[in-house]
């Protein structure tokens, strides 16, 4: 008897040594595997804010609702019936997803699937409802007909079904607070699946794409012990690497200015039915972009609304012949080189000029003879500009073009900017009549942003600025991580030349100029119209034009520069930049001036205006 007890103890001892020593590593790992779990910690994607800190894009936590069909028993129909309205799904489709499927695992064994995605991007509130519904799911089973063992089994099945069969995985949804506002600047995000079966947002276009690595942050993880009900046991945390949230990108865009621009562009879109219309508002002194819009646009909250027609940001991705707005470049260059002065006269050939085998025309109503250089701008004479270009000569004109930033990317922090270098060929590659054609804005292609920045350079006393779209990057606490400063690219013309150009451009909005409709009541405006024929099948079309107006105000101390470009308006051959884009400029400028509190030009105020009365010390 005693020997048996001793033997039993020896046996138990040996088993203990076997388990605790010899197989320790193997069994330890197995035990850890059962109770330990690696929980990924997703980083919150940073917000995009406007210059005043208003939210433009943010991230909200949502759930991906999943099911484990293995834990459903035969209650799929009951679950589908209860959840279909909450998930906004067809009950039959949901039932289909809840059915167990046989599949081969990596070892070639046939197993039942334990994971099925039912719906993505489900809000937290809906997920709470789903959870409550599942916890209280009524099961049509008569327990009284079951044996005691069957009842215990059923209770286990019911518990698993109600608690674990439907589960939510953390996910993120990108929300664009103002819908389609600034859609082309912000861009949008896509979703990609990661290796651990979670989804991650990634920038697809716009700022979302360009600053993707700053916005996305770094995800973390936690290796921790779990109890049998999958609750975390904090004491058994092994690794705890916190996720680092993405940085917030603060733009130079002002939501209110953007809204003004977009509402006016939308009105123009309805009125003139163009193929597209774009607008840019910059601060000439710093290069800051206050607003940028391209129509047709899209709502980044609704990815289905995005297509090849409305996705491109035409401000930077499309090139166009600038038309008459380009005359400012040629005349600036000629003034800067002192080849002409504003009061020199140019003979405009009464509207018809033969040069290098081609005939240049002025606009139908322009049969101009000898006119001063400033009037070439005022009346937008093609022949006058060509003659000034010929005087300037091709190499110098080419130098001025490249100095003004044509043929090179502006460096705006947005994806998809075309540099258009192919369309600004060196002077030695020009054709025999290019020197007559380019000064009137033909035979050269530019982006809308390049053109707006070039006019801004004139407004800025001859210094070309780099377009600035991002003001700073900050962390989730609001601490500034990186600050961007305005950058001057180069001086393109002297300050004196710029001043002369401003004087000449002021005449464009006079009654005799091409854009009287762009004139403002309280500010002196300087600007230039453009009406460029579109090239179709290698020929200039007579009924399709790109019309534009780029202007700035107050002309002598410019606060903002506004560019409006309309592509193929319904007016066809009767479309002119001043007539179509001038009013849009006027409306945008008037509303912006009020919002930005730009002081009116004093000499334009009525003698009895309240401001003047106060300034003169007159009490009322």
């Amino acid at each position: 008897m005693m020997a048996l007890v001793v033997l039993a103890f020896i046996g138990l001892g040996l088993r203990l040594v076997d388990l605790q020593l010899w197989r320790h590593a193997e069994l330890g790992a197995l035990a850890e595997k059962g109770s330990q779990e690696k929980i990924p910690q997703a980083a919150r994607r940073g917000d995009i804010l406007d210059v005043n800190g208003n939210l433009l894009a943010t991230t909200v936590p949502v759930k991906t609702v999943c099911a484990n069909p293995l834990l459903m028993g035969n209650q799929q129909a009951a679950v589908a019936h209860a959840l279909a309205p909450l998930l906004q799904m067809n009950e039959a489709d949901l039932l289909q997803k809840l059915q167990p499927r046989l599949m081969k695992n990596s070892k070639g064994q046939t197993v039942t699937n334990q994971y099925a995605v039912l719906q993505r991007k489900v809000s937290d509130e809906t997920w709470q409802k789903i959870y409550c519904t599942m916890t209280n799911l009524p099961l049509a089973i008569d327990l009284s007909k079951m044996s005691k063992t069957e009842r215990v089994d059923f209770r286990n099945v019911a518990f698993n079904l109600r608690q674990h069969a439907i589960f939510g995985e953390d996910d993120q949804l990108r929300v664009y607070q103002n819908g389609a506002l600034a859609a082309h600047v912000l861009g949008f995000v896509g979703t990609k699946q990661t290796t651990n079966n979670t989804s991650e947002l990634f920038g697809y276009d716009g700022i979302e794409n360009f600053f993707d690595n700053k916005l996305e942050g770094a995800s973390g993880w936690r290796v921790t012990g779990m109890d049998s009900r999958k609750n975390e046991l904090t004491a058994y945390r092994d690794e705890d690497v916190q996720a680092r949230d993405g940085l917030n990108v603060v733009l130079t865009i002002d939501t209110a200015v953007q809204n003004i621009l977009e509402t006016e562009l939308a009105d123009a879109m309805r009125e003139h039915l163009p193929a597209g219309i774009t607008g840019i508002i910059t601060r000439p002194g710093t290069g800051e972009i206050l607003a940028m819009a391209s129509f047709p646009n899209f709502d980044p909250n609704n990815l289905q609304s995005i297509n090849t027609n409305n996705e491109p940001n035409r401000v930077i991705s499309d090139v166009m012949e600038p038309g008459s707005t380009f005359k400012t470049i040629v005349i600036s260059g000629a003034l800067n080189d002192r080849i002409v002065s504003l009061n020199d006269t140019v003979f405009c050939e009464n509207g018809l000029f033969h040069y290098g085998g081609i005939t240049l025309h002025d606009a139908e109503h322009n049969h101009l003879g000898n006119i001063p250089v400033w009037e070439v701008l005022e009346k937008s004479s093609n022949i006058g500009a060509s003659k000034i270009g010929i005087k300037l000569q091709a190499p110098r004109l080419y130098e001025y073009m490249t100095d003004f930033g044509f043929g090179a990317a502006t460096g705006i922090p947005l994806p998809g900017e075309v540099s258009a270098h192919r369309f600004v060929r060196p002077a030695n590659e020009w054709g025999k009549y290019s020197i007559a054609q380019i000064p009137m804005g033909q035979g050269v292609a530019v982006t809308r942003l390049q053109m707006a920045m070039a006019i801004s350079a004139i407004a800025n006393g001859g210094v070309l600025m780099r377009p600035m779209l991002v003001k700073q990057l900050q962390d989730s606490e609001g601490n500034i991580v990186q600050k961007y400063e305005p950058q001057a690219v180069r001086r393109v013309v002297s300050e004196d030349t710029a001043k002369q150009m401003v004087e000449a451009l002021k005449t464009v909005v006079s009654d005799e100029g091409t854009a009287p409709l762009a004139r403002l009541a309280d500010y002196v405006v300087a600007g230039k119209t453009g009406t460029a024929q579109k090239v179709e099948d290698g020929k200039y079309a007579n009924d399709r034009f790109v019309v534009s107006f780029i202007g700035f105000f107050p002309a002598d101390n410019p606060k903002i520069c506004i560019s409006i470009v309309m592509d193929s308006p319904k007016e066809g051959g009767r479309a002119f930049g001043g007539a179509l884009c001038g009013p849009v400029f006027h409306n945008v400028a008037e509303r912006c001036a009020s919002y930005l509190n730009i002081p009116a030009d004093e000499h334009m105020q009525a003698p009895n205006s309240p401001a003047l009365l106060v300034a003169a010390g007159v009490s009322r």
Binding site: Q177, N178, T234, N259, D522, P610, A611
Partner: protein, 127 residues
């Protein structure tokens, strides 16, 4: 002198008994302490977890408030609302704005500032 064997056998040996009792007490105390500590670790872990869940919830609520505020301040929404209510609101025209020019504050000119500093004792300067 012969020993009284009977008395000797019956005598209680307090030393070993006390030592055994003490050893049992220490072992039992350690066991109870261990269990108590484990209980405390579990309890505190649970509290940490609850507080972490609460923190996450508060952060979510905070984010929601930020989102609500952004919506209330959104120029697009304000514009829509102003139109919807037909309040006849429009931006102020420059002519309606009265600008008051603020006169520059004239600072009193301190004559011979160097001498004034030099005349003060070093202690007063350092204060």
């Amino acid at each position: 002198m012969a020993k009284n064997k009977k008395n000797q056998a019956a005598a209680i040996r307090f030393g070993p008994a006390l030592a055994a009792f003490f050893a049992c007490f220490v072992i039992a105390g350690a066991a109870v302490g261990y269990v108590w500590q484990k209980g405390q670790i579990y309890e505190l872990g649970k509290q940490i977890r609850d507080k972490e869940i609460r923190l996450v919830q508060l952060q979510k609520d905070d984010d929601q408030r930020v989102k609500d505020l952004a919506e209330l301040r959104s120029p697009v929404k304000l514009d829509e609302r102003a139109k919807e209510l037909n309040l006849g609101l429009s931006p102020a025209q420059p002519m309606q704005v009265v600008r008051l020019s603020e006169p520059a504050i004239s600072m009193p000119v301190i004559k011979n500032m160097t001498r004034q500093f030099a005349a003060r004792p070093i202690d007063a300067m350092s204060q």
